[in-house]
């Protein structure tokens, strides 16, 4: 199976090309074709993981791609190890769930063929990224992931907000990618290879150390910050909800945002080579975790709440990786993929039923939408980290990794974030599903194509925790995985984390269900903080200011300079030529007398010059 692993990404891209080329004629079947292709990929990915489980280790398959004088050699290849095999399964599984769900959700959209083609392109890009064995190919698929998200976020291109959000997502992540690319250039220059395995060996041989190691790691991390929405490059993710909701599920769970975390895991030796870089990574992650969680507490849009929740959870993963918690970060990525995809699909089901995103216009939906309510509850419990749901185990590992790294401040941040997480998700849950319906319109449960993927995901969101220990052992065999971290068997951290989840739940319960404390009173009491959070710390405004007041001003100034100074000089030369021509043409008046005078004067001047410059004449004159 290993040598046929290329079929896994090939199936979705073939389906995308087929659907794209045949166009609207096959609109009705488009989703079935692409779903079938991805189902095939999922089966193959499972088979591949089975093989890797049977023979753990690292395998590489390469083909020459590009070679030039000067010793440049780029190979296209696949790196198959536990890490990539796990990611293949996650990506294909979530993609398949999203595709099947979309069959129902997008059924009435006229651009449905285009939609499924883009969706499959997205899956292809992510699968390619996961399999890449070298930095160049990693970067290539990385950019294709960015393109796919651009196309899908802007899928409803007639909506100006969607078009804007798509552009924003691409440009902001590109900003990070610029650092990533420079990092790749630096690596190529100093280590003379792009192969990920070879890079790991080079690091082991001590070829990358000190300031260089820090610079490389941080430059590469810029790319991860963009894709995985780490502060301050997080601003695109909440806006990305302008795309169709199933797309959000895909972006937030298995593809786009997972790319950054995966990249850090994949290039782990490069990061581990620098203590400073690891420290920076973990603090950026920790800050993002709590920063985004605070914003999520006050949002009104159901998808925005989930978007900030994703940012916060990504912060957890990055924090864990920065603390050396390789398996913790990846495990949280896995469980998060399940419950966050579920949260978005359930939210989509709600939006599909009530045609609004505003949680205050929903309410009481538990009566009419039983399945959706149930799966949303499971996903919320998983996100909040309640035992025995999946999120409990992975969040626990994340917190333990900060503890083992000795970063008590990050452990504290992590616990506080857990409290906020539990609060904001149950706030959403209670407002949407409990209480009285906000409108008279009767909501209906979605059709089976939409509910079955949700049910399947909810099984994982509930039960993945059982896989904690095997998952860790399996990933240890990956390339780049650090040796097994010291085991932690204490009860304190899980107990604290559970306490936090319960506190958050209680807080939400008291305020939004029991109404023991008035939400509006709280809001008025803490108005400045509320306003700050509501406006997302004004980060978007700061970017807006920088773009409008700095970049575009410079751009316009340069444009003026080019037209008036550079080109002005050109026109000035032309003008000078014409002026000289005009002036000289005055001499040609056609009057014979003038010509004669000038001729005689000229002759006299020439004679005088000749005489004056003649040494004998000079001597005679003296």
């Amino acid at each position: 199976m290993l040598e046929h692993a290329w079929i896994i990404p090939a199936l979705p891209i073939a389906a995308a090309a087929l659907v794209g080329l045949l166009g609207r004629r096959i609109n009705r079947f488009a989703g079935w074709i692409t779903s079938a292709a991805i189902a095939g990929s999922l089966l193959l990915a499972l088979r591949l993981m089975w093989d890797v489980l049977a023979h753990p280790g690292v395998k590489e398959i390469t083909l020459p791609w590009l070679q030039t004088a000067g010793g440049l050699m780029i190979q296209m290849g696949m790196l198959i190890d536990p890490l990539s095999s796990v990611m293949l399964v996650i990506v294909t599984f979530v993609s398949l769930m999203v595709q099947v769900y979309s069959l129902g959700y997008m059924a009435e959209d006229e651009g449905i063929g285009r939609y499924f083609a883009f969706l499959s392109l997205f899956t292809f890009s992510m699968l390619g990224l996961v399999l890449s064995n070298n930095l160049i190919f990693l970067y290539m698929f990385w950019e294709l992931v960015g393109l796919s998200s651009y196309l899908l976020i802007g899928f409803w291109y007639k909506k100006p907000e969607a078009a804007n959000a798509a552009k924003k997502a691409f440009v902001v992540t590109r900003f990070g990618d610029m650092g990533f690319l420079i990092g790749i250039l630096v690596v190529g220059y100093f280590l003379n290879t792009f192969n990920i395995l070879a890079l790991g060996d080079a690091v082991k041989a001590g070829k990358l150390a000190g300031g260089l190691a820090t610079a490389v790691a941080l430059l590469l991390f810029c790319g991860a910050m963009g894709k995985s929405g780490q502060f301050p490059l997080h601003i695109w993710l909440p806006d990305a909800m302008e795309g169709p909701t199933p797309v959000s599920a895909l972006i937030h769970a298995a593809t786009m945002v997972a790319a950054g975390v995966f990249m850090v895991a994949r290039l782990f030796p490069l990061f581990a080579a620098s203590e400073t870089a690891m420290l920076t990574v973990s603090y950026i992650g920790g800050f993002t975790a709590i920063f985004a969680a605070t914003i999520a507490c006050v949002q009104d849009d159901i998808k925005r709440i989930l978007a900030y929740s994703t940012l916060s959870q990504l912060g957890y993963m990055v924090m864990a990786l920065g603390c050396g918690g390789y398996t913790a970060g990846m495990f949280h990525l896995t469980t998060h993929a399940a419950f966050k995809a579920l949260l978005f699909l359930a939210a989509g089901s709600v939006i599909h039923a009530v045609h609004t995103n505003d949680i205050w216009k929903m309410g009481g939906l538990c009566r009419s939408m039983g399945i959706t309510t149930a799966v949303m509850l499971i996903a919320s419990l998983a996100l909040a980290g309640v035992f025995p749901f999946a999120g409990f185990f992975s969040k626990d590992e994340v917190l333990v990794s900060t503890f083992l790294a000795g970063r008590m401040d990050l452990l504290f941040v992590g616990l506080l974030t857990a409290l906020l997480t539990s609060f904001y998700i149950f706030r959403m849950f209670f407002v949407v599903f409990a209480g009285k319906p906000a409108t008279d319109k009767h909501a209906h449960e979605a059709s089976w194509v939409m509910t079955i993927p949700m049910l399947l995901l909810s099984i994982l969101a509930a039960g993945l925790g059982a896989a904690t220990a095997p998952f860790g052992h399996f990933l240890q065999a990956s390339f780049g995985a650090p040796a097994m971290e010291t085991e932690y068997h204490g009860r304190l951290i899980p107990a604290l984390a559970t306490l936090m989840a319960v506190l958050g739940f209680a807080w939400a319960y008291l305020v939004y269900l029991q109404k023991a404390v008035s939400a509006s009173l709280l809001m008025r009491r803490f108005l400045p903080i509320y306003t700050l959070l509501k406006n997302k710390y004004y980060i978007d405004e700061m970017y807006q200011w920088a773009v409008q007041r700095i970049m575009f001003v410079v751009s316009r100034a340069l444009a003026w300079f080019d037209r008036n100074i550079v080109d002005g000089a050109v026109n000035g030369v032309a003008w000078l030529c014409r002026l000289t021509g005009d002036g000289l043409s005055r001499l040609q008046q056609g009057r014979l007398q003038t010509y004669l005078i000038m001729f005689v004067a000229g002759v006299v001047i020439i004679i005088m010059v000749v005489l004056a410059s003649n040494p004998t004449v000079l001597a005679w004159m003296k």
């Binding site: 030039t68 000067g70 290539m140 552009k167 610029m178 220059y189 080109d567 032309a574």
Partner: protein
């Protein structure tokens, strides 16, 4: 006697032009068919020579030599190596697509197609010439029809633009001529043949004096900052096919000249000067993309984007590093096709909306899905998206340049961000957003236009996914060139 492929490729457009002029005047659709046949013939032969080129042997192949003016040492000498073949292929593709893009020229089609083909013939001769005199002759043959094409079939301030462009190109050619004659006389005034001149040992002082003259002469044509301002005005006024040829091929001719004559003949001069010139190419890249961001006329955006992308070509050349030089020639090819695609699209969109002002457009994606898709593809190539040729080219340039000028290259990488910003802004403003009633009746591309765009897009994709075939071709020239540079150093 083998078949004189290069002569046939170069002379076919000229012959077609003569046939077109002999056609009866009332048959207005005949000229385009003759032009298409001529362009197709040249294209097929270009593909043939690329396929027939023996990579293992390398060097100049398909040689032809006939004496032209023995007393002055002028020969009709043709020959092509990998780099020249890449450019010949580029020219063949662009003229074929260019004829398709001009399918509906109503005004004096006979003269239009004849002049267009004469121009292309000149370009082919430049790329295939082994004799500097022939090289120069081909160049002049390419420049003069340009004046008429813009002056007669252009739009806007076309007379000003035609005059400005021609004078600028003449300035460039004057500098070139100075350099060429100096090399000729320093070589004993025996021959203009490049093989002869290559073996002349030019003194260090000579090289240091004449390299910058040649660089500026050719650089003007390649849009080297600050001698680039002919390009926005020229492109804005030129008819579609002329913009395509001009940005697609003629600008490459400048870069080609710098490598073939500047670097190859005067390597010491090049080594002395390139670190300073590289700074200017950085201005090209970053400044070009920032200025493009502020433009509202679509053609100006693309013209400034060309300035920025040609900066990457020139940066690649200024490294004298084999990887970056490969990238530079790749970028010449890639940018040639991409900008051809862009200008063809601008012409097609303008033909429907009758405006080139970006804020006036909007919501076009639902009206013209194919054109929008093609424009997005062009934009993605422009911003260096993997999977398309532009990425490979830029990657190679950056990889090579980073070994020579690390800091400068790191700054140059910011160009890819600015490019993304202006490209996506333009795409958004033109194609996305709600439908505008003004464009209720515009339609999508017809089959002629679709085939024109499809050819260009397929080339961009083909090179992007599997670049080896083109890189190996280019590398067969760049390898020996950089070895020579090592020896000289």
């Amino acid at each position: 006697m083998s078949i004189p492929y290069l002569s046939i490729i170069s002379a076919t457009p000229l012959v077609a032009a003569i046939i077109i002029m002999l056609l009866p005047r009332e048959r207005v659709t005949w000229p385009r068919w003759v032009a298409l046949a001529g362009a197709a013939f040249s294209l097929i032969l270009s593909i043939t020579v690329v396929a027939a080129y023996k990579l293992a042997a390398g060097g100049y192949q398909f040689l032809e030599t006939h004496s032209l003016l023995p007393s002055l040492g002028i020969q009709y000498a043709l020959g092509a190596d990998g780099m020249a073949l890449a450019m010949v292929l580029l020219t063949g593709i662009i003229i074929f697509a260019g004829v398709l893009a001009s399918w509906d020229v109503k005004e004096r089609p006979q003269e239009f197609f004849a002049l267009l083909l004469i121009l292309v013939s000149g370009v082919f001769y430049v790329f295939a010439a082994r004799d500097l005199f022939l090289f120069f002759l081909g160049y002049e043959l390419a420049v003069l029809p340009m004046y008429l094409l813009i002056g007669i079939w252009g739009t806007g301030k076309r007379e000003y633009a035609a005059m400005k462009l021609t004078l600028y190109l003449m300035l460039g050619s004057a500098l070139m001529l100075v350099g060429i004659l100096a090399m000729y006389f320093a070589g004993g005034a025996q021959s203009f043949h490049l093989d002869h001149l290559r073996h002349v040992q030019y003194s260090r002082g000579f090289q240091i004096t004449f390299f910058p003259i040649l660089f500026l002469g050719f650089g003007t044509l390649a849009g080297f900052w600050p001698f680039h301002t002919w390009s926005p005005d020229g492109h804005a006024s030129a008819p579609t096919a002329v913009s395509m040829l001009h940005a697609g091929v003629l600008m490459k001719l400048g870069a080609f000249g710098i490598i073939r004559i500047g670097v190859e003949m005067l390597p010491i001069g090049a080594q002395v000067w390139v670190p300073y010139l590289a700074l200017f190419t950085l201005v090209n890249i970053v400044y070009g993309s920032l200025v493009a961001m502020a433009q509202t006329d679509l053609k100006y955006v693309i013209a400034y984007s060309s300035v920025s992308h040609m900066g990457i070509v020139l940066l690649g050349i200024c490294t004298l590093n084999p990887i970056a030089l490969n990238g530079a020639v790749m970028q010449m090819f890639s940018h040639g096709i991409m900008t051809g695609l862009f200008f063809a699209l601008v012409g097609m969109v303008y033909g429907r909306t009758h405006t080139r002002v970006i804020p006036d457009m909007g919501g076009l994606a639902s009206r013209m899905p194919f054109l929008s898709m093609a424009f997005v593809v062009g934009g993605l190539v422009s911003l260096g998206l993997p999977g398309f040729s532009g990425f490979v080219a830029e990657l190679l340039v950056f990889l090579g340049a980073f070994r020579v000028y690390p800091l400068l290259s790191a700054v140059a990488v910011t160009g890819i961000l600015f490019t993304a910003i202006y490209v996506l802004r333009v795409v958004q403003k033109m194609f996305f957003g709600p439908d505008k009633p003004a464009f209720d009746h515009v339609g999508d591309a017809n089959w002629v236009e679709k085939s024109c765009l499809a050819i260009l897009m397929l080339v961009l994709l083909g090179v992007g996914i599997y670049p080896s075939w083109l890189v190996n071709l280019i590398n067969s020239s760049i390898g020996p060139l950089t070895q020579m540079l090592e020896v000289v150093r």
